[in-house]
């Protein structure tokens, strides 16, 4: 298996707080990897650094053999790495279909957007029903479907999912992760940030546990659950929690 995404010694944060102390991880082609950890451990910050929404202080990120930090944030999606951000971030006053079209704004995906749109609609039939509706008027679960669909519209080779289950009903989580499993089987690599470890385990083969901006454990899902690394990453740590 070839490595698609490789992160080494990533340090990042905001103006006066360092959130990521030292993050190293890798995702192979076609693999689903989970990034697990408690609130404030640095999961979302990692995602933001990968997509360029924040500029890291140090470390290296390579994607498909290219130095990602040398690529402007808005050009990264053209390389095939797409983020479905935390809190969905759909465009609320824009229709569902137009939100999806915006997902295929980049050169890479614009020519085939009609076919991609059809495949997103067959993955999430609900979106096809709601295509004329303003995105902000849909339920949280539907908005999450839209956010995932919008990221898929760029025809990524790697999908970054930041807490897709946040605030959703168990039923909706089930539907959504069913779709995520389908995406994974189509060959798209996925890096999945989740607090809902159970849902993450249903689709991921490997995982990293992070705490206080460092990777504290890594391995297959079975290894992680057996070693108890996850429990300590979610519940342990007497140190004050870094702000994210």
């Amino acid at each position: 298996m070839t490595t698609l995404l490789n992160v080494e010694g990533l340090r990042a944060g905001y103006e006066d707080s360092i959130v990521l102390q030292d993050i190293s991880l890798s995702v192979n082609e076609g693999e689903v990897v989970a990034l697990l950890g408690a609130n404030g451990s640095g999961k979302t910050t990692t995602m933001r650094a990968l997509t360029g929404l924040i500029r890291p202080f140090g470390g290296k990120i390579t994607f498909a053999g290219r130095d990602l930090l040398a690529v402007e944030p808005h050009r990264r999606v053209d390389l095939g790495i797409a983020l479905c951000p935390e809190g969905r971030q759909v465009f609320p006053n824009i229709s569902v279909e137009e939100n999806l079209f915006l997902g295929s704004f980049c050169k890479r995906s614009r020519p085939d957007r009609k076919q991609t749109l059809d495949s997103v609609y067959s993955l999430f039939p609900k979106l096809a029903e709601r295509r004329e509706q303003k995105a902000g008027l849909m339920s949280g679960g539907e908005q999450q479907m839209l956010a995932v669909g919008r990221a898929l519209m760029s025809k990524p080779t790697m999908l970054l999912l930041d807490e897709p289950s946040l605030g959703l009903s168990p039923k909706m989580v089930q539907i959504l992760f069913g779709a995520i499993g389908q995406v994974a089987r189509s060959g798209i690599s996925i890096l999945l940030v989740e607090q809902n470890a159970q849902a993450a385990f249903a689709v991921a083969s490997r995982g990293y546990a992070i705490s206080m901006g460092r990777v504290t454990a890594s391995g297959t899902i079975t290894e992680l659950t057996k070693s108890g690394a996850l429990q300590s990453s979610f519940l342990g740590s007497h140190q004050p929690v870094a702000t994210a």
Partner: protein, 292 residues
Amino acid sequence: MSLFWQCIVDSLLLGGLYSLMSIGLSLGFGVTRIINFAHGEMIMFGAYGAYFASVLLGVDPLLSLPLVSIVVAVTAAVLFKALIEKVLNAPHINQILLLFGLSLALQNVAAILWTGDARSVATPYSLTAYEFDLLLVPHGRIIAFIVAAILIVALFCWLRFSELGRATRAVAENGQAATLMGINVSRMYMLSFGINAALGAATGAISSFLLTITPFMGFHMLVKAFAIVVLGGLGSVAGTIIGAFALAFAETWVSYYVPEGNGWAEGVAFIVLLFVLIIRPKGILGQAVAVH
């Protein structure tokens, strides 16, 4: 009764001009979250552009309008890149001071270059009018209204149906999410600033045969545009048009029905501004804007 209908017609025609005058200001705020206090100067330069095209080259303002708008748009985009881009994330007071300063500087550049003399463009349609019984409808005002309507519809279609228009709306709603879509947000800011300046310049070009052109005409129009945009709701295109017609009606009504109304009409914008800010600060169709 004819006074009543005259008042209606005048209000409608003025409303078209006011819509075009303020739509760039409103859209600019919606996209960049910066109020362009130099918007009036874009109008002023548009008016001077049309004036010189007419006086020096004998070109009708309606024909010079496209070129004048493009020149002003490009100049504005350069100003944006050189100055305004640097304060995008600065405190509001810095943004206001920069743009207000820019406005004053541009006014005085115009005064130095072209003196403070009042000018106007004479066109074949400046002084003619349709007459229906006692109703008088000046040709110039009709033409201005039609040009404004065409440009507003064109802007609306561009925003609604084009790839870049859609990207502009996305940037206005959520810049970070737009970046994730592969949209170059700072490029879109520059584009929208240029387009808004072009709309201002077009307003100037059609004002050139209706109003008096001076280096300081922009500030006067900015205040009105500001009242309209606040009344309609900052960032809302539909709200801006409602606001523009509301102000046009209010001003025309005051000037026709209040004794000495012509003078008072100019103050209506301030009264509107005052009452909107007290009663409904987010405007008629405005969305609440987060305060940082």
